[in-house]
Amino acid sequence: MAVSLLLGVGAFVLRSRIPLPAKEDATFGSVKKKRGLLMLAGGIVLWVFCGLFFGLFASGDKTLHVSINPERIDLLGFSVSSSVVVAWIVIAVLILIAVILRVFAVPRFQEKPRGLQLVLETAVGAVSNFTKDKFGHENDGLAAYFFALAALFIGSTIVELFGIRPPTTDLSMTLSYALVTFVLINYFGIRKKGVKGRLKTLTKPVPVVAPFKLLSDIAVPISLACRLFGNMLGGMIVIDLLYYALGAFSVGIPAVLGLYFNAFHPLIQFFIFINLSLTFIGEAVED
């Protein structure tokens, strides 16, 4: 272990000692290649050292534990699942960020946006324009609701980078998001057409298709929930397997993979969620 530590630090020291000549010099390419090689060797040896170091504290857990339901916590006599508590923490942090931004940053906005204002305006503008493109009525509340849902969702998947099980791997949470969409679909449909009109669309082409249309209406929130839950749980299982396979050597590699599974993949899935919700709402409102 000491040998690997010495080798790793020595490789980095050597790399910094090789001087980098001027760019027009003919030997630039080969010197840069040698520096890069030394940096790679130093990195690998330091990784081995970290693995051996953390292997000293290894607990004897040799089997992989994965369960579909998260563990339950006992809170003031009620038994709540850990996803709900994590979701509460995420909501509290989001409210704190929103209040701080509103009190300190918004009064200082200028005509030409720079910096933080540009980021905020781009994000809000993207969601708002997308919602208004697909469901183009005068409704401002829908864009605001979807932005809040996106913030909650992104917050709860970033939590996985810290090692906590994110709330979206719980079937109850994704089912509740999908049920809110179901309520929104019916609300817009009934507001536009009345209760009788909404029931009448069930018998639209021929009255005999009514049971099938009813079934497909019920299948919409269930499919939304299952799609989200399955994708998130699959990602979590892959990263758990990686941690279990590498054991004590999992120093830097799962973070790189986590960048895809916890940042990029949930964004795509959530874009699909919003897109499908808007499509179904638009379908319930059209004649």
Binding site: S67, I68, S223, C226, R227, F229, G230, N231, L233, G234, I268, Q269, F271, I272, N275, L276
Partner: protein, 76 residues
């Protein structure tokens, strides 16, 4: 009378829905690439439609995966 071996075989058969989904997504991507090659200025619209269609067809594979997971974790 449930046997862990039968549960494992059943879970393996349940994940077979991925075959159809993978085939369909490959064909869809091929057609999208052809469409972009025909008319490169419709790039972003075709891209959006492609992502939407891929996520919808992937959901059938996810159904099979979720069924297999439920089988493994709740049947003893």
């Amino acid at each position: 009378m449930t046997n862990i071996g039968l549960v494992a075989i059943g879970a393996g058969i349940a994940v077979f829905t991925g075959v159809g989904a993978g085939l369909a997504m490959g064909i869809a991507t091929g057609k999208a690439v052809e469409a972009v090659a025909r008319q490169p200025e419709a790039n972003s619209k075709i891209n959006n439609l492609l992502i939407l269609g891929l996520a919808l067809t992937e959901s059938t594979a996810i159904y099979g995966f979720v069924t297999a997971l439920v089988m493994i974790f709740t049947m003893k």
